[in-house]
């Protein structure tokens, strides 16, 4: 066998492996999305109906209370809650992450390593283990069933991660760039915004996406800390489809689609920054 053949065989095998992996990863998602557009009976059919025969928007209409079907879920409220909570907590986590990451990457201060380790260790504690103490404290503070309660929890959940990720990106940027900018006439603040921030942008963007998705998708803590349309988020809202004896799979899948869409849009918008292979050519060769 020539080396060309070998390479072709290898390429084909790689493609097959990739294809199988993609199926494993995508089919459940695809199934959810498809089910969102199918009537309940087709979803529950045995043997399963693989290719949808009857696509419909009824499920969405039902959720929004536009049809005469029994379910009307306050999806607009849930969506707004989710959006407010995820966006606010992400913004705060990013702000803290940028400040903290920059400080860890650039400054020398006492207890730096211990602090950093402490932050990382706080990530090692499963969030759900904290749910009871958080619940008790929040109930004293009146933060149960309030968006602010969840925002604080999500900021705490995300900050160690954003700091860690952004610290890594600032570390990659040689400190000489900021020094050169300062010699060139910038204040430290200007040097940060004009030089270091643009270079760390892809890192900050990925930290933002991760923080947003964590907050957006989180279920366990939200289910403990929310009660009503005042603060319930979309993932918690999914449970509205379970009644005592029935589960409205179609409605649930349609809602899942509504949950997935903003996450997809965001990832799509930011992916340019995520992939942006920043070349640090200005430094060394």
């Amino acid at each position: 066998m020539t080396s060309l053949h070998k390479r072709q065989v290898k390429a084909v095998l790689t493609w097959i492996a990739t294809f199988i992996l993609m199926i494993v990863m995508c089919v459940p998602g695809l199934w959810v999305v498809l089910s969102g557009f199918r009537p309940n009976r087709e979803i529950l059919a045995k043997p399963p109906v693989w290719i949808p025969e009857d696509l419909t928007l009824d499920n969405f209409a039902a959720i929004f209370g536009l049809s005469d079907a029994q379910v009307a879920i306050p999806v607009i409220d849930y969506f707004a809650n989710s959006m407010i909570i995820a966006v606010t907590s992400t913004a705060i986590a990013l702000l803290v992450g940028m400040s903290g990451g920059y400080a860890f990457a650039r400054f020398r201060f006492g207890g730096k390593n211990a602090l950093f380790l402490g932050l990382m260790l706080s990530r090692a504690v499963p969030g759900i283990a904290l749910s009871l103490p958080v619940f008790i404290i929040w109930s004293h503070l009146g933060l149960i069933d309030a968006p602010m309660g969840l925002i604080i929890v999500y900021v705490a959940l995300n900050v160690p991660f954003t700091i860690w990720l952004i610290d890594g990106f600032f570390r990659q940027i040689p400190k000489e760039l900021s020094e050169a900018a300062q010699v060139d006439g910038c204040t430290r603040w200007q040097a940060f915004w004009k030089i270091e921030f643009p270079l760390a942008r892809s890192g900050i963007a990925s930290a933002g996406v991760f923080a947003f998705l964590t907050s957006w998708n989180e279920y366990a803590l939200a289910s403990q800390l929310t009660r009503s349309t005042d603060s319930k988020t979309l993932p918690v809202g999914l449970m509205d489809f379970t009644a005592q004896f029935t589960i409205d799979w179609a409605g649930m899948c349609a809602m899942a689609v509504i949950i997935i869409i903003p996450a997809l849009i965001l990832t799509f918008l930011v992916q340019k920054h995520l992939i942006a292979g920043l070349t640090f050519g200005g430094v060394k060769g």
Partner: protein, 364 residues
């Protein structure tokens, strides 16, 4: 006037003092090179001048203004970093113009100065490229260009050539020298390479362990090193340093080897003094193969251990009284190891240092 004055400047990190109260006067338009082994405080000193490090004690004046508490941007200096520190997300043009843009200069001034700098440094055809698309030498030139567009009081160079390969380094060294001749400005240049120091400097500042060992023109530092450190640091191959005693008007190495005390140093030594004899390889040459064959001299028969042919000269490894020394043979012929040659020592070029203080006998 871009003169820089350092007055008892100290740098300490907590209790650890790394620069111990140095004094230095740098004249307007002077090219001063701070040279020394790593950890000698030369980069720290430069960074204190730039304002990138706090000054723990003493005063620094730039253009007769006390700058101790001024941030870098208010010192009107520019700096070329070892790793160039070009802004990776900006084109060459934007890199060059960045400082002027920050200073809110009108666009036509920026364009004019940037183009002028590009012209001087031969960057005109590269203006739209990003740093990643440049070679090492080109990046170096952009870094210098960024320094000159602002017409600062002084340029600070922090080991600018150490990331370049040997050939390019020599080339860029010449360009820096030319640049200084074109753009007359004060330059403070840090390097650990004594060849760069010798070739570029109007004045060399030799530093070690946070102290200034000697300040002088390259000639002074080379010909009149004040102590054994400067003697061995400046010059390549380094000066041979041999322990000896002054015995009845001669430099005595052992029972079999002694040479006369050079007449110019005779008044500075005392009988029985322990000294270190300094002899540059260029001044230890086989008879007829030297560059200082006239003047005061003396002869020793030495056995060759090893010969390194360099082309125009050969470095000869031999021993004087058991200590390994290097000599040179100019206009070389073939030498075989084991051969005994009659060497001439150009006495008037040799040095004597006190064995205890390590200082030249001329000053101690």
């Amino acid at each position: 006037m871009g003169n820089i004055t350092l007055n008892k400047v100290v740098k300490a990190y907590g209790k650890l003092e790394v620069v111990h109260g140095i004094d230095l006067d740098i004249a307007h338009n002077e090219f001063v090179v701070l040279v020394g082994p790593s950890g000698c405080g030369k980069s720290t000193t430069l960074r204190m001048i730039a304002g990138l490090e706090d000054i723990s004690g003493g005063e620094i004046h730039i253009a007769n203004e006390l700058v101790n508490d001024l941030p870098p941007r208010k010192r009107n200096i520019s700096m070329v970093f070892q790793n160039y520190a070009l802004y990776p997300h900006m084109s060459v043009r934007e890199n060059l113009g960045f400082g002027l843009k920050i200073a809110k200069q009108p666009q036509n001034v920026i364009d004019q100065r940037v183009n002028e700098a590009a012209e001087i440094l031969g960057l005109s055809s590269l203006m739209e490229r990003t740093p990643a698309e440049l070679s090492g030498g080109q990046r170096q030139r952009v870094a210098m260009g960024r320094a000159i567009v602002r017409h600062p009081e002084a340029f600070l160079f922090d080991e600018p050539l150490s990331n370049l390969d040997a050939k390019l380094r020599v080339q860029m060294r010449t360009e820096i020298k030319k640049l200084h001749q074109k753009v007359k400005t004060t330059v403070v240049y840090v390097t650990h390479d004594q060849v760069e120091a010798m070739t570029l400097a109007d004045r060399i500042v030799v530093m070690k362990d946070g102290y200034i060992e000697q300040v002088g023109t390259p000639m002074e530092v080379f010909n009149h090193p004040v102590n054994t450190f400067v003697a061995s640091f400046i010059g390549s191959p380094p000066m041979n340093l041999l322990p000896a005693l002054i015995v009845s008007g001669a430099i005595w190495f052992d029972e079999n080897t002694s040479i006369p005390v050079p007449s110019r140093l005779a008044p500075h030594v005392t009988e029985g003094q322990e000294v270190i004899f300094g002899l540059r390889p260029d001044d230890l040459t086989p008879e007829g193969h030297g560059i200082h064959d006239s003047g005061e001299g003396t002869f020793l028969e030495l056995k060759i251990d090893l010969a390194e042919l360099l082309g125009t000269e050969t470095v000869l490894y031999t021993q004087i009284a058991g200590s390994e020394v290097q000599g040179k043979m100019f206009v070389p012929r073939d030498v075989t190891p084991g051969e005994v040659l009659k060497f001439r020592i150009a006495l008037e070029k040799t040095h004597l240092f006190d064995a205890k203080t390590k200082k030249s006998v001329r000053i101690s």
